[in-house]
Symmetry: C2
Subunit: 325 residues, 2 copies
């Protein structure tokens, strides 16, 4: 009931009368009044004006299933939402849920992570109530070799989601970081459970630094948060919803061709590597060049003295970003 | 203790005295005698001759951790063995163990499976005490794109393992079946948990029809067992050991180059598709051709009217096999 009333208040730009809420949900005035009071206790600022009704003034930065469901505008992502105050890692939990049969589009969110996962077995700093820690479970009918492109789909979705809720202009550091003012604000970790030619499931994990006011010394120079960049808080539930909405849109474009041909132009527009000097940490031999964008398959095109090389994965440093000169 | 005494009896081609067993393991005559009796109860036929000692005459077709450990001759595979009388699926259980940190080389074996997995979400018939249901957990430092070749490594190991214990001449139906007299005797299911450019773990599941005396109607024409082909039982623990030993050997050759260049010749020697008419069930358009073997990367080379095509995965029918004409 509370989630429905919250959603109704949110949909309305002006006031909505208590009478209308009663009629719409077939409940008594007392029930409406109780729900409104519960929402106030949770931190919602709700104005009540005689003869006009209720109006939502501000929402607290709460994360829970109600909150997430009340802001949901997606078609198929997040039809099922699992929220946890604490998890080892949203990717690990999503993997478990997928093993148990969770549907395509299932969304897993945590308030904090105790073993947040980064790439190649690294960790991801995930303190309580500061970040967005979310994972999408996907079951696309694609070749396992096409799954890596979903990281780029997610990167584009995060850039657009952040831009929709803040004045920031985030950029993408290929393949899986989102950068604001040359510091990392988001990481994406795509993991796959697959047979040779068949995808069992894919989990796309997204970690965004939102309300952090500081970072541990060892990453202070390369990490930032939306709060530090904007000087104000961003509502995490709204951000999750915005990212899901954008992901849904770009994912559908990706699935039309099972490559990035319909979104690569937009992706390259946000690429911080674009026309920049990059250093490719190839395990055989590191080399440098100028990044010219990504291909329809998501490979980074690097010009090394007139010769073009395609980088399909791995570690890339971009001049001027994360302190690389 | 029992496993050690069993292993000692097995190592000895002739008799081994009770005295020697006592000394070797630092236990009393009574303890040795108790272990021998327990083994007899489990179905081992053990001859005891005065002044000579004990000799193992025959082993029952038992599966359990003791049995598997007593026949083990591998270097690093099966240093840790998990045996279960019943599992949903050895691949599923291996995945769970891997998530919990199980080591490279861990072996998972089940007496029967209640939800045995085949390719593309199909099942695998796994009745009690008839088959080998085993899965190896691997953590190789390879690109995810190279993992599919491990199915071919496993296929070669199974062919050699079966050939070592029977008079049969099994062949490989690319990519993941083992065939005896044109019927399927083994399936292999390789599954991977990976990031874009990093393998978390791989599980290689091997299901061999061993003692089956009949098959359900719907697969009777395409499936067979070692028992049906040999007319006698094959010891499952010995077969598992033989497959592990061969897998270890071929896996090491594979890892030297991270492709099949050192074993492809031998693989092609056992390929039932070799120089045969094949039908490739390409989802875009099925086509026919003559199979010419596999490449160093495990792709099937198909000649279609003089043009060579490489098949990297998918469904392939071979003329004369499984009733395909």
């Amino acid at each position: 009931m509370r989630a429905e009333i919250l959603a109704a208040l949110r949909e309305e730009s002006g006031y909505i009368s208590g009478q209308e809420l009663c009629e719409r949900f077939g409940v008594s005035r007392t029930a409406v009044w109780k729900s409104i009071n519960q929402l106030k206790k949770q931190g919602y600022e709700i104005e009540a004006v005689t003869n006009k009704g209720y109006r939502i003034v501000s929402a607290p930065d709460l994360l829970n299933e109600n909150e997430l469901m009340s802001v949901q505008k997606t078609e198929w992502i997040g039809k099922k939402i699992y929220y946890y105050d604490v998890l080892d890692s949203t990717n690990i939990q999503a993997g478990r849920l997928a093993q148990e049969g969770a549907d395509h589009g299932t969304l897993v969110v945590a308030g904090r992570q105790e073993a947040g996962k980064g790439r190649r077995g690294r960790g991801w700093e995930s303190p309580a109530d500061t970040g967005v820690f979310m994972t999408l479970i996907l079951r696309p009918e694609i070749e396992p070799g096409n799954a890596s492109m979903l990281t780029l789909v997610a990167a584009l979705a995060v850039v657009k989601g952040i831009a929709a809720l803040t004045q920031l202009k985030p950029l993408i550091k290929w393949p899986n970081d989102i950068v604001v003012n040359k510091k990392k604000v988001c990481g994406i970790l795509t993991e796959m459970d697959a047979q040779i030619d068949y995808v069992n499931h894919i989990v796309v994990g997204i970690g965004i630094n939102v309300q952090n006011r500081e970072f541990p010394d060892e990453i202070d120079k390369i990490a930032t948060s939306l709060y530090l960049e904007c000087g104000r808080k961003t509502n995490r539930a709204a951000l999750i919803e915005a990212v899901c909405e954008e992901f849904e849109r770009y994912y559908e474009k990706y699935m039309e061709t099972q490559d990035l041909s319909r979104i690569v132009e937009e992706y390259n527009h946000f690429l911080i590597n674009f026309n920049q000097k990059v250093r490719i940490l190839d395990p055989r031999e590191p080399y440098e060049g100028i990044a010219l964008g990504v291909t329809n398959r998501g490979e980074l095109i690097v010009d090394t003295d007139g010769k073009r090389r395609l980088v399909s994965s791995g570690e890339v440093s971009v001049r001027g970003v994360y302190g690389y000169v």
